[in-house]
């Protein structure tokens, strides 16, 4: 279970969210600039909140009052962003193996093969990131993020370069794998169809504030009514 209460300032933007996700798959939905990426970066530990706390399965990851902020690599949290950020000087296989240094060579190699297969990128193992298409790079970024077996997976519009059917197939495989491995996922998107397709819990974010939390159909229907009412006035 992911539980957080966060206050963060980025220039004139102010994020203030308090929430608890119990669902395996939560979608953070909101327009561009609503604070989705900021929230995910805070959860990943890449940025520090002005004040607040983050706990994963009751284990504190950030607790500003106590001066606690676990570094990103010690939070059992993975983040896959829209930009895959693959290391350009390493092969695809070496990228996926980067977070597996604690494993012995054979286990590491097997894990790389397993993760590339999950992401549908087995044939890319020997390639260089600069030789990949956008969609291929996103698949490799997903494999790399999952390889160290995180407890929490954060996805920031991660499959934008994949076409609809490829994205759906990958998401379906990913959801199954996450459930089997008891990994909680939070995905940020501004696409209504993405949010509905997941059939998941949706957190609606607007101008840095949580405005609704609940089942996707219910939250998005309320949001549609709000927009319709606003257009009529």
């Amino acid at each position: 279970m992911l539980d957080f209460s966060l206050h963060a300032r980025r220039g004139s933007f102010h994020l203030q969210v308090e929430c608890a996700f119990a669902s395996d798959w939560t979608v953070v939905f909101g327009p561009s600039g609503s604070g989705k990426s900021t929230l995910l970066r805070l959860l990943a530990g890449l940025d520090r909140p002005t004040r607040g706390r983050i706990a994963l399965d009751k284990r504190a990851l950030t607790e500003t009052a106590a001066g606690l902020h676990l570094p990103p690599g010690r939070r059992h949290t993975a983040l896959v962003a829209q930009q895959p950020a693959l290391f350009p000087h390493l092969s695809v296989a070496a990228n996926v193996a980067y977070g597996l240094r604690s494993l012995d060579r054979a286990t590491r190699a097997a894990r790389v093969v397993e993760m590339l297969a999950l992401a549908g990128a087995t044939n890319l193992a020997g390639r260089r990131p600069q030789d990949l298409s956008g969609g291929e790079a996103q698949r490799v970024a997903l494999a790399r993020a999952l390889a160290p077996a995180p407890r929490l997976l954060l996805l920031d519009e991660p499959f934008s370069a994949l076409d609809g059917s490829a994205s759906d197939a990958l998401l379906e495989r990913l959801q199954l794998w996450l459930r089997e491995n008891r990994v909680q996922a939070v995905m940020a998107t501004h696409d209504v169809t993405d949010a509905l397709a997941m059939g998941a819990e949706v957190l609606l974010l607007r101008e840095g504030r949580l405005t609704a939390l609940g089942p996707a159909a219910q939250v998005l229907a309320a949001e549609r009514e709000r927009i319709s009412a606003r257009l009529k006035t």
Binding site: A44, P72, G73, A85, H89, Y98, G99
Partner: protein
């Protein structure tokens, strides 16, 4: 040709460059990746030798390492001899004097690495040492080469600090720059020309090496 001075200059430049790399790589990484207002003061301090006249720096070091200060007396007690007018003293002076020429290219190189790659490595568990060795250095290797070559050449050619701190002791502190100065003072222009040509040749070769590794060739398209 004073081969003893030539060998001493090469030795001084090699030792200085090695020490500078050991200091400059972590320092540059700290300046790029660190947070805090004190980092600006640290960067200014690391850049100070670039704007300080070499003779002034040499004079300060001479006083600091001399018998009148606690630092100088402590070092003398530790080593059994004063640092001033010794090869080791020259190394200390050269490291301080050439520090900005090692740090600045590395800061520029590390800062040019995409921050999303740094974030990705941190998320995958890379600590500061691994982040620098596996991401920053490989992606900023041209800057590393520039730092090595600039540090080496700057040390080979330094004069003011060497003269102030080391004097002109053959085999110990007499470098090629000091030899050139002596030759000109003695109106031995033929020898001075040869010494100057060697110093110039080393610089040209080193710069050619930098540019051959850092220039991207080809026609630039609009």
């Amino acid at each position: 040709m004073d081969w003893q001075a030539f060998a001493l200059s090469l030795r001084l430049a090699t030792v200085t460059t090695a020490i500078l790399l050991a200091i400059a790589v972590p320092l540059a990484a700290l300046l790029v990746l660190g947070r805090g207002r004190w980092l600006a003061a640290l960067e200014a301090l690391a850049t100070l030798p670039m704007v300080l006249p070499p003779t002034v720096l040499g004079f300060f070091l001479l006083v600091l390492l001399g018998p009148r200060t606690a630092v100088g007396r402590g070092i003398t007690a530790l080593l059994g001899h004063p640092l001033a007018f010794s090869f080791n003293g020259l190394v200390v002076g050269s490291v301080i004097y050439s520090l900005p020429f090692a740090v600045q290219p590395l800061v520029a190189g590390f800062a040019s690495v995409d921050s999303s790659l740094v974030d990705a490595a941190r998320l995958l568990g890379a600590g500061p040492v691994r982040l620098v060795s596996s991401i920053l250095i490989p992606l900023a290797r041209r800057s590393l080469l520039a730092a090595i070559v600039l540090s080496f050449l700057h040390t080979i050619g330094e004069f003011g600090v060497v003269l102030m701190l080391g004097g002109d002791i053959p085999g110990s502190t007499r470098t090629l720059s000091i030899v050139l100065y002596d030759q000109v003072e003695n109106f031995d222009y033929a020898a001075a020309n040869r010494t100057a040509a060697i110093l110039l040749g080393m610089s040209v070769v080193a710069l050619a090496l930098i540019y051959s590794k850092t220039q991207k060739h080809g026609v630039r398209r609009a």
